[in-house]
Amino acid sequence: MQENRNLPNDAKTDTFFGSRINRASVLRISRRLTVSVGNLFFKNPILVGGIILSPVISAVTTFRSGVAISIAVIIICIPSIIISELSSKYAPFWVSAIIGALVSALMSVPAYKMISPLSPDIFDNIGIYFPIIMLSSFSSAFTHNRKRRIFIWSVTDVVCAVCGFAFFAILIGSIREILAYGTFNGKLLGIEFKMSGVAMPFFGFILVGFILAIVQKIKNSTVFFKNLIKRRKEVQ
């Protein structure tokens, strides 16, 4: 995520809560937010980079398991990524990885507490994929340009990426549940045509592949539209 520094600096400066925030920095923050939210869908390191894909592929077969996995990811991954990034400024890379793993192990207890009221047999069909989230190699995804970024922006990036992942996990879970069992969140939808093969991992790969292709197609078309607008502006 490059930082665009070429903003006009002649804006009027006024003190705001004692910190000197001028119009330029407000503009920069708002643009930075849009970029970060934009990355929520298009440059999501978790999905585009394929970080925590294995639970999505084989465990998320119902809407409820999608919600459980996304809650677990939110609770476990956000603190561990942030703390491992913090520690990476002061400790070598492998030490920060260990700290991240320990924090995620620690956070798995509240995650378990949050998930268990969802449904009694939630942990049977998630199976071993709940502990897998503890250890998926998310630490390597966010460290590619760590040095230049202010700490606050890495937090928003991580939160946006994880929420994007949660959205995709729930989307995939509901699609697979409707196709495979014809129910949604346990309630029958009256569809009698059920494809039980959709719940298998091989269709998980194919479905994630197709959804990423749709996301890329939207991104290409938006980039295409942006260039179109820019070109039309140059023509005028």
Partner: protein, 332 residues
């Protein structure tokens, strides 16, 4: 003589008359006797199933090539061939939505992402049948008795099992030779009549549409495995006959193994490819999850056919070096 229409084209300036549509038309002609025999056993429903399969594959291929911004080519008949092959391996009593889903899977998932019709890595017909076997295991492997005309629309209760199912349980189904060859026993729609299959195979061989090397080595491997390791305790001849004619072993051999796009291109890899498919078919039938092994064996070997291609190039490259080095110094 006006020179307005002259264009500059690359040599050679004359081409063969056997272009791709004609070759694929030959394949369709060799499939028609199977539909005719199925029509005799199961009535008009078979023709409707074939038509629906072919239509969905053809239309989806046009949509897919339009979506992925390629030139839409109406004369491309290859998806019709896959559309006709898929219903043949399924029971006649199957309902139409399953055939449509299998055909959609075979075109949208197997061919579109890899670049359209000529660039798929996996055999679309085999992938469609494998997907159908996974999604609807009960309705794909329960059949109805032949010579009972099925209604074209409406739900049909299919209750009886094919001899392959009994073979998997270890029992020996009582079928005499004539029934086996004419295909008058419970089984998939088009794969049971051995005469029609062999007629189609000879037609394809004579028209030089398929390469006999893969199919020959496939049958050698299959017959050898069935003869040497029979899973039913009877003499090897009857075990070979029973195993060959029960499931879709011969049908897969003729139409799925010989599919040119996903098979390797050189002669030596063709033998290896066919032989390994034969072995894997028998392994899948003995230890696999389903009674029908050809589709999965073809899919597994399609992973290695590009590898076979590249390494056969290397082998030929070095064998030519050796041949040149060993040739006696010509007197030039």
């Amino acid at each position: 003589m006006n020179t307005s229409r002259i264009q500059k084209k690359a040599p050679p300036h004359i081409r063969t008359s056997r272009t791709a549509p004609i070759i694929l038309l030959d394949v369709i002609i060799s499939i028609l006797p199977l539909y005719f025999m199925a029509y005799i056993y199961y009535g008009l429903r078979v023709i409707v199933l074939g038509a629906i399969g072919a239509l969905t594959c053809f239309l989806l291929n046009l949509i897919a090539s339009a979506l992925s911004s390629q030139k839409v080519n109406i004369y491309n008949i290859a998806p019709i061939v896959t559309g006709l092959l898929i219903p043949l391996a399924l029971p006649a009593a199957i309902d139409y939505s399953i055939v449509i889903c299998a055909c959609a899977f075979s075109i949208l998932v197997v061919e579109m992402p890899f670049g359209g019709c000529g660039f798929n890595f996996f055999n679309p017909a085999a992938a469609g049948i494998a997907f159908a076997a996974f999604c609807w295991p009960t309705s794909v492997f329960t059949y109805t008795e032949p010579l009972v005309k099925l209604p074209v629309f409406g739900k049909i209760v299919a209750s009886s099992y094919s001899p392959a199912y009994y073979l998997k349980l270890g029992a020996v189904p009582k079928l005499d030779l004539v029934d086996l060859l004419t295909g008058e026993f419970v089984g998939p729609m088009g794969t049971s009549c051995v005469f029609a299959l062999i007629a189609g195979f000879i037609f394809l061989l004579v028209r030089k549409v398929i390469n006999w090397r893969t199919v020959l080595s496939y049958f050698v491997a299959v017959i050898a495995m069935f003869a040497l390791f029979p899973r039913i305790h009877s003499d090897s001849i009857s075990s070979v006959l029973l195993e060959l004619c029960s499931g879709s072993v011969i049908f897969g051999g003729i139409f799925m193994v010989s599919e040119p796009v996903t098979a390797p291109k050189r002669n030596i890899p063709k033998y290896i490819y066919g032989f390994l498919i034969g072995i894997f078919t028998v392994l899948f039938r003995y230890y696999g999850g389903f009674e029908q092994g050809v589709a999965f064996a073809v899919l597994i070997l399609n992973i290695f056919s590009p590898l076979l291609d590249l390494y056969s190039e290397k082998v030929i490259y070095y064998s030519r070096r050796v041949r040149i080095a060993r040739k006696p110094k010509s007197s030039e």
